[in-house]
């Protein structure tokens, strides 16, 4: 190793990053070269001094202050965690049930008004049996379909509500 190489190495790396071989070679050269010897000595001195760079005393208040602040932080989190979370139900299944009931009610009211209460004639269901009731021409009219539709509508809504309740647990 020559003077140039040692200078380049020292510019590039601190001594602590020299490989064992580089260090040995540098020392060997420095043995015959006062310039480089001085360079290496200064570098060693500097690096050992920096290793012992003084640190300030930690004040006793620091721990106390931090512990108080983290206690406050944790308490805040606890309060948030303790608050009961409202059951998360989406609005639309409830609206569907309401809409289904409303439609059924309207149809029923319309039927009554027009003297055609046969559509929802539950009495015939009891006297004639369900097959008779279901397949009677009156039941298969448009209004019957509407009722069936709205019934499905709010059944679907009701089950969605149940499912939502399941998820929010």
């Amino acid at each position: 190793m020559n003077c140039e190489q040692i200078r380049e190495l020292l510019d590039e790396f601190p001594l602590t990053e020299f490989s064992a071989q580089q260090l040995v070679a540098a020392e060997k050269h420095a043995g015959n070269c006062p310039e480089c010897e001085k360079l290496l000595t200064t570098e060693k001195e500097l690096e050992s001094l920096l290793k012992k760079l003084p640190e300030p005393e930690a004040s006793a208040d620091l721990t106390a202050a931090v512990m108080t602040r983290i206690q406050q932080h944790d308490e805040k989190i606890k309060i948030v965690a303790q608050e009961p979370t409202p059951i998360q139900t989406s609005e639309w299944p409830i609206s569907m049930v309401a809409a289904g009931i409303a439609i059924t009610f309207c149809i029923y009211a319309y039927e009554l008004f027009n003297g055609r209460s046969t559509t929802f004639n539950l009495y015939s269901l009891w006297t004639d049996g369900w097959q008779q009731w279901l397949f009677s021409p009156v039941q298969l009219n448009l209004v019957g379909l509407l009722i069936a539709g709205s019934f499905a509508f709010y059944l679907f809504g009701f089950f969605s509500m149940l499912r939502d309740r399941e998820f929010s647990r």
Partner: protein, 194 residues
């Protein structure tokens, strides 16, 4: 610089595990292990005793509240140092804004005229004060990198991550700092010879 900077890695891992299981008091032990290093780092960057205290306090609080982001596979101190460096840099920026002093890590040649004498009482070790002054007089990037590398024995890559610059930049900063400190050391020797 292969070995870990301190032998307390096992302790820290155990303590952090305890904290994660709800043992808040374990954190005061973590603080005991690191508070001097954190304060030294904060003071070296902000060069103001009150500011260093504030930064150190905020750094410890933030480390606690963000503990879920700490990766246990890695060393604790570089993570804590990263938080400290960022908060200290913010402090410097706010300070620069209020006192119209330019101060960021990269270009900061204008901020050398700060008086460091007020900090003498904090550095109890009289013999080391001169060196501390020399390091603290460096631009903020150089003094931060120097402290982290030589005194706190952090790896160049970790310092780069903490300071949000490339490893190459850290190497350049360390090189420049060494050049200046070498001169200071020589001058010091001449002074004591005369």
């Amino acid at each position: 610089m292969d070995q870990a900077p301190s032998g307390d890695n096992e302790d820290v891992r155990r303590l952090i595990c305890a904290i994660r299981n709800g043992d808040q008091q374990a954190y005061s032990k973590v603080m005991q292990l690191y508070q001097r290093r954190v304060i030294a780092l904060a003071l070296m960057i902000v060069r103001d005793s009150g500011g260093a205290e504030d930064v150190a306090q905020d750094a410890f609080v933030r480390a606690y509240t963000h503990l879920d982001r700490y990766d246990e596979q890695r060393e604790f101190y570089p993570w804590l140092a990263t938080i400290t460096v960022r908060l200290a840099r913010n402090w410097l920026r706010t300070e620069a804004r209020t006192t119209a002093r330019e101060d960021v890590f990269v270009a900061d040649e204008t901020e050398t005229n700060i008086s460091l004498d007020s900090l003498d009482e904090i550095i109890a070790d009289e013999s080391g004060r001169k060196l501390w002054h020399s390091v603290a007089s460096l631009p903020s990037g150089e003094r931060t990198a120097t402290l982290l590398y030589y005194r706190q024995e952090m790896k160049v890559v970790d310092i780069a991550a903490a300071m949000d610059v490339s490893s190459g930049t850290i190497k350049t900063m360390l090189f420049r700092a060494r050049q200046k400190l070498r001169v200071a050391l020589e001058e010091d020797k001449l002074e004591s010879e005369n």
